[in-house]
């Protein structure tokens, strides 16, 4: 297990470094420069480039960037809020995005598990049909469409929840974005839970447990859910990544001051360091999630633990 873990962490780090490099190369080809102000003369622009080290060769810039990154310095913003360190900007934005994503995962996973379980235990009943229908719709309709619908009815027509994000009323403002983000997770988990559970329910060890008199919640949690949870876990990782995509748009719709919104702004105004910083955070998070899922997979399934993941 420890050897497997070591290998996995090594691959993750290599991936992260590669991503930083690719991002760096891509950013070099970005059209335009961060200093787009019409009033800036070419000479001034030149001076700005020298000041921020943008005149050096790409490779030197890359090495410098990685060096600074290791000390926790992600550079300064060029145009959105000049000379403010990117880390400061991220610090103010990250908690909100993180909170949004966290609740979306929690709500989505638990409601998905519930729907999937109900459908699997009442196969081919009306509950099954309803839950299948809901999950197909949830998978097919993009989260921003839900966000638009929810904000129109609950925010604009009925005025139950605030239509735009309001820091003073955070709990209420979070409700609509969390729901619209979590629907996709919910639907995918429900679909997957249903298929996995039906398979587990038909297996011999469940029949044995049932014939031994294990029923109700004990059967569900100890025997069915544990065995069904392993494959479910594998879909959770891509789903969490999907949430990042979704959050960019949902943050835009509800104007939540989160990472996604900042990234969109930074792309539009060529603020390289911010784009770089946020992309790095996203990538690191993504890789971290994949790593955690892999490790959890080993803990839940002894077969993987023994053979070291081969």
């Amino acid at each position: 297990m420890s050897k497997y873990l070591f290998k996995r962490i090594l691959i993750s780090l290599a991936t992260l470094l590669l991503i930083v490099f690719i991002l760096f190369i891509l950013l070099q080809f970005m059209p335009g420069s961060p200093f787009n102000d019409e009033r800036i003369t070419p000479e001034q622009r030149e001076l700005m480039n020298i000041r921020y080290g943008l005149d050096k060769p790409v490779l030197v810039q890359f090495v410098n960037y990685v060096k600074n990154m290791l000390t926790g310095d992600l550079g300064v913003s060029y145009s959105i809020s000049r000379d403010v360190p990117v880390t400061t900007l991220l610090q103010s934005r990250l908690p909100i995005s993180f909170e949004l994503g966290f609740w979306a995962v929690i709500v989505g996973t638990f409601s998905g598990l519930t729907f999937g379980t109900i459908a699997a235990f009442n196969q081919n009943s009306i509950w099954d049909t309803i839950s299948t229908l809901l999950s197909v719709i949830g998978v097919s309709v993009p989260s921003y469409v839900f966000a638009l619908g929810l904000s129109y009815y609950f925010g604009f027509q009925w005025r139950i929840f605030p239509i735009l994000f309001n820091l003073n009323d955070k709990a209420m403002s979070m409700v609509l974005p969390v729901i619209s983000l979590s629907l996709f997770t919910m639907a995918s988990i429900a679909r997957f839970t249903r298929t996995e559970m039906i398979e587990v329910l038909q297996s011999e060890y469940i029949q044995l447990a049932e014939s031994k008199g294990v029923t109700g919640s004990r059967l569900l949690f100890k025997h069915v859910l544990r065995n069904a949870s392993i494959p479910i876990l594998t879909v959770l990782a891509p789903l969490i990544v999907g949430l990042m995509t979704g959050s960019m748009v949902v943050e835009q719709i509800f104007s939540i001051p989160g990472l996604g919104q900042l990234l969109v702004q930074a792309i539009q105004s060529n603020d390289f360091n911010i784009v770089m910083g946020i992309s790095f955070i996203y990538s690191a998070l993504f890789i971290f999630v994949m790593l955690v899922v892999d490790i959890l997979y080993g803990i839940l399934d002894p077969r993987i633990r023994v053979t070291g993941g081969e």
């Binding site: 691959i11 991936t15 059209p31 993009p142 990042m244 792309i267 890789i287």
Partner: protein, 353 residues
């Protein structure tokens, strides 16, 4: 054993004459089920048509394709034809307007209250104009533009399938067939590519290449094939030690012949299903990019850019956003349903990756 259980065992039962009846043996002894020999395709058709979801999905896809092809020519508005004075008109449809629905009236909401207006009546040039889905803030016909946008989404769907088949399938097949060192290296590469959040790369790539149909195609081609290559690899691992492969190898067939002529036909169904599953994903990616302002450039329309444009006047004129949202959702839904049905009919054991 408790007393109650003993009692139950020792209890004596009296049977009445009509408690049992003799089973009609004549029926099931002589009955033989006759199976008509059916071709695989016919079997597939029967199974497929039993799955209502997939049939509905297929029908919807056909309807959407039909409208995407002919919709823009169904009325006289051009896709980029702005008529000054006809801005933000609500949907109005011939015949239906007599029943009070889709008659061109819209409700304007303000903080002081709401008011119902009909722009067709107040505009002297528009008494005989019919915008079936309404017109946008620049006075363009939403019906025409929606179906123009659908064309782009369908093109994206096509790209996704082609990428899946050509890149993903080939990669997976080669990696799985050769195994050993080749597999090792190819899988490590895949792991690294998979570790890159495609959203970030796609977004930056589009910024670098300038938004346009070509750059969206490239972006999807770069990231869309990973799931497919996994399935292809898993499938070929199942088959590559089978006798028919061994036979081909003993007869001296080249690896390429074995992979593409011997093994591929056996797993083609599974791969097609997988490519169907990647279609909604690709369509979503495009609409997502359009929504954050990286879609096709201005006068052209895509479903995503239509949604993102009408989002700006969403609260005052919700009718503008409904057609593209509905068509987009229906397209994705139909492809999902179709893929589900195909999977159930062809290979129920296949799982999504």
């Amino acid at each position: 054993m408790t007393d109650e259980q003993l009692k139950a065992i020792n209890q004596h039962y009296d049977f009445l004459p009509n408690d049992f009846e003799i089973a009609d043996k004549g029926q099931d002894v002589n009955e033989q089920e006759i199976y008509v020999r059916e071709s695989t395709f016919r079997q597939f058709l029967t199974k497929f048509s039993k799955n209502y979801g997939s049939v509905i999905g297929l029908v919807f896809i056909l309807i959407i394709i039909f409208f995407a092809l002919f919709g823009p020519h169904m009325n006289n508005f051009g896709s980029n034809e702005q008529i000054i004075g006809n801005e933000s008109m609500a949907p109005r449809v011939q015949f239906l307007e007599n029943f009070g629905i889709l008659d061109g009236s819209q409700t304007l909401k303000a903080s002081t209250g709401s008011m119902e207006i009909n722009r067709y009546e107040s505009n002297p040039n528009a008494t005989d104009t019919y915008y079936w889905f309404g017109s946008d803030v620049l006075g363009r016909d939403i019906f025409t533009r929606t179906w123009e946008g659908t064309r782009l989404s369908l093109y994206i769907a096509l790209v996704a399938v082609i990428v899946d088949v050509f890149i993903g399938m080939t990669y997976g097949l080669i990696s799985g067939y050769f195994g050993g060192k080749v597999d090792m290296v190819m899988q490590r590469i895949l792991e690294i590519i998979n570790g890159i959040p495609s959203l970030v790369i796609v977004t930056l790539l589009i910024v670098v290449l300038r938004p346009g149909i070509l750059s969206i195609t490239i972006a999807i081609a770069l990231t869309g094939w990973i799931g497919m290559s996994r399935v292809a690899r898993a499938q070929i691992l199942k088959l590559k030690d089978r006798e028919f492969v061994l036979a081909a190898r003993t007869l001296g067939a080249k690896p390429s012949t074995i992979i593409f002529k011997e093994i591929l036909p056996n797993i083609f169904a599974q791969l097609i299903i997988m490519s169907m599953f990647s279609v909604p994903n690709a369509i979503f990616t495009e609409s997502f990019l359009a929504f954050i302002g990286l879609g096709v450039p201005m006068p052209d329309a895509s479903l995503g850019s239509l949604i993102s444009d009408s989002f700006k006047s969403f609260l005052n004129a919700p009718f503008m956003i409904i057609p593209p949202v509905l068509v987009l959702s229906m397209t994705m839904l139909s492809f999902n349903l179709l893929a589900d049905g195909l999977r159930d009919a062809l290979d129920p054991t296949l799982k999504e990756v």
